[in-house]
């Protein structure tokens, strides 16, 4: 293995690059992980700013800040979705925490393909530049991608305001992000299968590693389909093909099938890593091993498999065959079973434990409750009949933000507070962390809970102005988004405070509940971790007790 160098070469092997060489040419999983995290914070703040602009427009009926430029409104809502999905949650959970902690948790010195890892990150930079550039391409009102993140044809092909190159740039952006994710997924799969420490069998791996392995398979299988779909869209737009053009024998609905074959696994790409994080944090702060380890692995695997066979529940109003819709309704409902297993297992992990309510723990408890809320509205939406009343209304917006903003993003913050002492070597302020939790909790719930009511009353999503009856809830929803925005700024202050005050974290700030391998090395970890290979062969369970 790479660290098994002879004493003669030790000097070279342990050379630590500095400055630009260290960060631009990095092949070190920890440095690349940090790059991903910084990238995610940048893109996340940008995406949050877009969402606050949307809420400002919707705060009152009539035109507020977009002055009637509804194409620009559509560009903002499209950019918000792309940024949050591809440039915040995925880089933070997969590229950031996954890169940093998967090798540490399985006792590996690095990822299997360090140079591939470097490319995975640096492909994302031109990808983001292309996406942002798309907003400036075009003339007059006809600028940017105003199609929503689904980029459905024919809107993305024949619409008068989308004749320019904006959509092409966005397609190239997604190509690059897709290649980045596929390479990263290959890297994770090879790392987990080949680089585990002696004795670290698959069923002794921490659940976060399992979550990342399942996520990697989802990415590997789903993203090529998106790549194909948007390439067909590209040629429809530029080369006169007719894949999705009914006048030429094509079918717009075919694009929707391809998109959602990718799109539904994609939403599990965002949430499954968070499942893994919540398992680690709940076990650590309950000072108990995760309850039902095998059930948890099985549930995550089942969610991953089911994620590939339910895609058309996004298309219940497109006019599918009724029998097809009935199948997708039933298959979608089945997902509630493994999800329920996870929720109950987390609670059972806490049951009988000795709970400490640190910031990561309260974020994790918040996640469990709010994800349950987002999950049960998913059961409602799975009904093809009831979904007719909710499709494309704010009920759907509320549902997926409970799963994403209050689910996946709560997972990101859980992971941040749990692992940042390890990454930086410094403790954050517990008091400030808890203030951040409550600000963010109140802000996001105030933003999204009233949207259930708006959806029930019939308010369509993706509209820049609304009938006056919807004004009341929209006002409070906007207030909520401002509070959540303030919480995000406050989060930056917490990070700065942590680096200014430099409270040393020590190897393991969380006590004997934290039993995974990353807590056995220094904080921050050495540039080359595991000089001495950890030996797991005497360990009998995934979460060995510190008392052993």
């Amino acid at each position: 293995m790479s660290y098994a160098t002879t004493a003669d070469h030790a000097h070279d092997a342990h050379h630590t690059p500095r400055g630009l060489t260290r960060w631009l040419c990095s092949t070190n999983h920890k440095d690349i992980g940090i790059l991903y995290l910084c990238y995610a914070v940048f893109a996340g703040l940008l995406g949050a700013a877009f969402s606050i602009a949307l809420r400002a427009e919707l705060m009152y009926p009539g035109d507020q800040i977009f002055n009637g430029n509804y194409q620009l409104y559509n560009v903002f809502l499209t950019a918000h979705a792309f940024l949050m999905v591809f440039f915040l949650i995925m880089p933070a959970l997969v590229g950031g925490f996954g890169n940093y902690f998967v090798p540490l948790m399985i006792g590996a010195p690095d990822m299997a393909f360090p140079r591939l890892n470097n490319i995975s990150f640096w492909l994302l930079v031109p990808s983001l530049i292309l996406l942002l550039a798309s907003a400036f391409v075009g003339t007059g009102e006809a600028r940017g991608v105003g199609t929503g993140w689904t980029v459905y044809p024919p809107l993305s092909v024949v619409d008068g305001l989308h004749k320019g190159m904006a959509i092409d740039l966005a397609i190239f952006s997604l190509h690059l992000a897709g290649i980045s994710s596929i390479l990263g997924a290959i890297n994770f799969i090879v790392t987990v299968f080949n680089m585990r420490a002696p004795g670290m069998s698959l069923f002794k791996m921490p659940l976060f590693v399992w979550a990342m392995l399942i996520t990697a398979f989802l990415l590997l299988l789903a993203l090529p389909v998106l790549g194909g779909a948007i390439t067909m869209l590209l040629t429809d737009r530029n080369l006169g093909t007719n894949f999705f053009n009914p006048a030429g024998g094509g079918d717009p609905v075919l694009y929707q099938h391809l998109f959602w074959f990718f799109g539904h696994p994609e939403v599990y790409v965002l949430i499954v890593p968070a499942f893994g994080i919540i398992s680690e944090v709940v076990a650590t702060f309950s000072r108990k091993p995760v309850f039902g380890y095998l059930g948890m692995v099985g549930a995550m695997s089942a969610i991953g498999v089911l994620g590939f066979v339910v895609w058309a529940h996004h298309m219940f109003t497109v006019g599918l065959d009724p029998d097809t819709e009935a199948y997708y309704m039933i298959a979608t409902m089945v997902i509630a079973v493994p999800t329920g297993i996870k929720i109950f297992s987390w609670i059972a992990t806490m049951w009988g434990g000795s709970l400490r309510f640190t910031t990561p723990m309260i974020f994790a408890i918040g996640f469990i409750f709010l994800f349950t809320l987002g999950g049960v509205t998913g059961v409602m939406l799975a009904n093809s009949a009831v979904d007719v009343t909710f499709h494309d209304t704010y009920y759907v917006v509320a549902h997926f933000h409970y799963a994403m903003s209050l689910g996946a993003l709560f997972g990101v913050f859980t992971a941040f507070y749990y692992w940042v002492p390890k990454i930086s070597g410094y403790m954050y302020s517990e008091v400030l962390g808890k203030i951040h939790f409550w600000l963010f909790f109140i802000g996001t719930n105030l933003t999204f809970f009233p949207q259930h009511f708006l959806g029930m009353a019939g308010m369509p999503r993706r509209i820049p102005d609304y009938p006056d009856a919807y004004a009341g809830y929209n006002y409070w929803s906007s207030i909520g988004s401002y509070i959540a925005g303030a919480a995000s700024i406050f989060f930056l202050y917490i990070v700065i405070d942590m680096f200014v005050r430099k409270r040393p974290a020590g190897n393991n700030p969380w006590g004997d509940g934290a039993t995974t391998l990353e807590w056995t090395i220094s904080s921050p970890p050495p540039f080359h971790s595991f000089e001495t290979q950890p030996d797991y062969s005497k360990v009998t369970e995934a979460y060995p007790s510190a008392h052993h």
Partner: protein
Amino acid sequence: MFKPSLPLRFLAATLLVMAFTAGQPAFAQDANATDAATAVMTDATSTDEKDTTRELSAKEKDNAIAEAETITAYDAQKVRGIAKPWQYTYQPAGSPVMAHLVKLHNGILVVITIITIVVLAMLIYVCVKFRAGRNPNPNRFAHNTMVEIIWTVVPILILIGIGIPSVRAHYQYTNNQDIIDNPDMTLKVVGHQWYWSYEYPEHGIAFDSNIVPEDQLKDGQPRLLTVDNPVVVPVGKVVRVQMTSADVIHDWAMPAFGIKQDTVPGKLSETWFKAEKEGIYYGQCSELCGKFHGFMPIEIHVVSDAMFEAWVAGAKLKYAANDQFQLASLSR
């Protein structure tokens, strides 16, 4: 130390959910459902065309058009299908489909609310009972086969309880092909950027329906919902709606009728409704279709048979210049 009461507690909680599920009327055998569906079909009567063999004088034509316009005039008292401020339920159901969907939704809502409250209660319980200050020495148990079987099987049973009425609603109401194939009348809908065009193939009427700009609204007409030429349909009649689009994908949605159907270019979609009460109903385009997506509303006036016939007579004259076969839907 292992708490033997743990499996019992979970069992009690899950059984509680089951008990509530079983008690919900929406999940009982809905014997009326089939009757309702057949009743809808049996009271169907064919719409008689008005005798238009005699040539009308100019004055008679003007009167007929004026009468048709009176029928589609806005009257705040007649508005039934519209959202109200601070509303937290559906709009009042205006069709048998929506009435059933409301029942189905409410039944599922009770179940998912109970599940959410049970999860919240368990979370609060463990946070209070097992906080470090009160329980300094944690247990080490990590398995309990019986509990795991229970929390796998019970959700499956709950889902079966939800799934059966859902599949039934799917086939008997939203996708009831028997009803769609035996309508009282047909309405064709074509989506355009950014307005709707409508055709009454059995009555020979065709017209475009555009939003009324804010500065031209009269008598308190609702903003963003009012159109110049609303759809008019007779009350209590099964209307088959056939839809397509002339450009991009739109979606013809009418919340009070439980209708939401994409209009896809190159594809003919069908759905149906039977409006049960006279009144004015509003909906909005529900698929992002470009810049003015939020500005192509749907307005339906449900009127009595007699009023509908009067409207047909006037509309034929009013829209006589619109040869239906010239409309974008058919010329493309």
